[in-house]
Symmetry: C2
Subunit: 346 residues, 2 copies
C-alpha cells in the first residue's frame, strides 16, 4: 500500500492533530465542472459510471482543478438497487427512476443480496484505477446510500418531495420494510468492504432522505441500519455517516462505530459540537447556496465556519452537494479559504 | 361579537386550562376531501379563492365532515405578491409560478405595499361570510406567508427544492433582500390586521421555506420579520408562527410576542418543549405521511404525541399540510383520536 502524501482527511478521521482541516465537497466531481460537462455530452450517465477510465477521469478532475484534499469516486447510490436486480433509469432533467417498484413480499424475495461482488465490479475497478492514478496524492473516498434512502427510491420509483409512499410502506408494513432494509444493509456492507479492498481509504454513507423521518421513526427505520453498517466496517475502513436533516440523531450516532458524522447547513457548528460532545470528527456544513455569493463573502463565511467547528476533529465540506450553477472559481475560493485558514490568535 | 361555543383553540393559545387539546389540520380544507374536488373541477384556483361564497363553502367542509375544532380560511399565501403587483399563475400539476420575478432595485420599487385593503377585499369578505356561517361553532383562523417564504417565490418565480436563487439574491444583495422583506412585512401586517377586523380569531404565519436557511441566516433574513409581525399584531389577535424546518429558532421565537409556535414532525415533542421551556403554546406535529398508516396505528401515534406534548398549552395538528392522498376516514381518525384522548392516570 502506497503512502498517502496529503493524509489530512484520514488523520482528521482518526482524531489526530492536523495543521489545518482537510477539505472536500460533496458532488465535487460533477456538473459545475466544464470538463465534466464535456464527458457528460459524450457518454450517458451509466456509461460514465460503469467505465472505469471515465469514472476515474471524472473523479480526478476536482483534485487537479479545485485542489480538494480527497477524491470521492464518481458513482451513484442507485447502483445498489441495480445490483439487487432492479432496473434504474437516469434521464436528463427527469432524475432517476425505477420502472419496477418494491411493494410486496414477493418483490422483496426477488431481490438478491449476492450482487455486490460481480455486478459492481466496475466500481472496484474504478477505485483501483483511481488509486493508481492518484499515486498517493490524496485519500480516496468510497460511498453508498444508506438503507432508508435506498428504500425510498425502491418503493417510490423516483424522487419525491415528501417520500409519502415510502413512509406509507414503512408505517403500514413495518415487517416488510425491515426485511427490505436488512437486505439493502447486507449487500451494502459487502459493497463497502469490497470498496475498501479495492482502495477506498474511507467510505461515506449518504442518508439523503433521513430528514423525512420523525425522530421516533428515524430510530426505527434508519438508525439501526446505519449503526449496523458502521459496526461491520469497524477496523476495516473509517466510516462517515451523513444523516441529512436528522440533527436529532447526532448524539446517538456520535456514540456509534462511525469515525465521522456529516452535518448539514441547518445545524449550527456549535450545536453540532454540543450534541456530539466532541466524541467524533464532524464534517460539513457550508450552505451550498452560499457558493453563489461573491468570493469575499464565501471566504468570510468559511472562516466563521472553521472558527465555530474548530480546526481539530473537523473536515471542511458543504452541508449538501455542490449545485451545477456554482462558478468553478467560487468552488475554488471555498477550498482555498480552508487552506488559508489561520486560527484566531489566543 | 358572537360568543364562540367551542373555544378550545383560543383558550389553548391564551394558555388557559383546557379539558382536552383542540385539533385542526393544516390544509384541512383541500384536496383529500371529495366535496372540495367537486368545486375544484368546476372553478379554477383563483376563482375558488376570490369568490367569498366558494371560499366559505370550502372553509366549512372540514368542520362538518371531519369535525376539527377550528376553521382556517381557504386562501393562498401568494395573494400577497398579487396584492403587491405581481402576476401569480396557479397551474394544475405545475404548482404556482410568477412570470415576472424580483431581481433589482427597480423591481422592488415597483411593488406596492398599499394593496392590502382594496385588492385583498375578497379575503376579508370570505372571512366575514365564514364567520357568519360558522355562527360561533368554532374559531376562525386567518393566515399569511412569512416574508422569507414570500421572497422565495418572488425571486425564484416558482417552487424549488433548494431555493438557491432566493438564497443567492439574499447572500449577494442583502440590502435589496432586506428592502423586499420589509415591504412584504409591511403589507402582511396590514393584511393580518384586516383579517382580524373581518373576523379572524387568530392568524398563522407560514414560513414554509424557513428550513432552507442555516441558523445564522434565519436570524438575518427570517426571524426579525416574523418577530416584527408578531409584535405588530400583539393585543389585536393571537399569532401562531410556523417556521417549518427551523427547529433551531424555537427557543428565540418562544420569547417573541407570538401566542403559539407550529412544530414540524422532525422535532420530537420533548425537544420542542425543552427548547421553548413551556413558555408558549405549541402546535403540531403529526407526520402527515402517518395519516396513510392503518387507523389503529394513527390512533396509537396520536395518543403518544399528546402524551409527549401534554394536554395544556398544546394544539394538536399535523407537522405540515395534509396530502391529497389521505383517505377522509383517516383524517377523521386523527381528529377523533385527539377528541377521545384520556390522559394517562397518575
Amino acid at each position: 500500500m502506497s503512502q498517502i502524501q496529503n493524509d489530512l482527511l484520514l488523520r482528521a478521521l482518526r482524531g489526530e492533530t492536523v495543521e489545518r482541516p482537510p477539505v472536500w465537497m460533496m458532488r465535487q466531481a460533477g456538473r459545475y465542472l466544464p470538463d465534466y460537462l464535456k464527458l457528460k455530452a459524450k457518454y450517458d450517465f451509466f456509461t460514465r459510471v460503469q467505465t472505469p477510465e471515465l469514472a476515474t477521469a471524472i473523479t480526478l478532475q476536482p483534485i487537479d482543478q479545485v485542489g480538494v484534499d480527497a477524491a470521492i469516486i464518481f458513482c451513484d447510490i442507485l447502483v445498489i438497487p441495480q445490483a439487487m436486480g432492479l432496473e434504474v433509469l437516469m434521464e436528463e432533467l427527469k432524475g432517476p427512476s425505477l420502472p419496477k417498484i418494491i411493494a410486496t413480499q414477493k418483490d422483496i424475495n426477488a431481490l438478491t443480496t449476492e450482487g455486490a461482488e460481480e455486478s459492481l465490479k466496475y466500481v472496484y475497478d474504478a477505485l483501483a484505477l483511481t488509486k493508481k492514478e492518484l499515486n498517493g496524492r490524496v485519500p480516496l473516498i468510497g460511498f453508498a446510500g444508506a438503507p432508508w434512502t435506498i428504500l425510498c427510491y425502491m418503493v417510490e420509483g423516483k424522487g419525491s418531495k415528501t417520500w409519502d409512499k415510502a413512509k406509507q410502506f414503512a408505517y403500514t408494513q413495518p415487517a416488510l420494510a425491515h426485511q427490505l432494509l436488512q437486505k439493502i444493509t447486507t449487500i451494502t456492507i459487502q459493497y463497502l468492504k469490497l470498496q475498501a479492498k479495492a482502495g477506498a481509504d474511507t467510505v461515506q454513507v449518504f442518508d439523503s432522505w433521513a430528514g423525512s423521518l420523525s425522530p421516533a421513526d428515524f430510530k426505527v427505520f434508519a438508525q439501526p441500519y446505519l449503526i449496523q453498517i458502521a459496526d461491520a466496517l469497524k477496523g476495516i475502513v473509517p466510516v462517515i455517516l451523513f444523516p441529512k436533516g436528522s440533527w436529532y440523531a447526532l448524539k446517538e450516532l456520535s456514540e456509534s462505530s462511525a469515525a465521522g458524522l456529516g452535518i448539514d447547513w441547518c445545524v449550527s457548528p456549535q450545536i453540532a459540537r454540543e450534541l456530539t460532545g466532541n466524541k467524533i470528527t464532524l464534517q460539513g456544513n457550508f450552505d451550498p447556496a452560499k457558493l453563489l455569493a461573491p468570493i469575499p463573502a464565501i471566504k468570510k463565511a468559511v472562516k466563521e465556519m472553521i472558527d465555530a467547528f474548530g480546526v481539530q476533529n473537523y473536515i471542511a465540506n458543504l452541508g449538501h452537494g455542490i449545485t451545477p450553477n456554482v462558478p468553478v472559481d467560487h468552488a475554488k475560493a471555498f477550498v482555498d479559504a480552508v487552506k488559508e485558514y489561520q486560527a484566531p490568535s489566543l
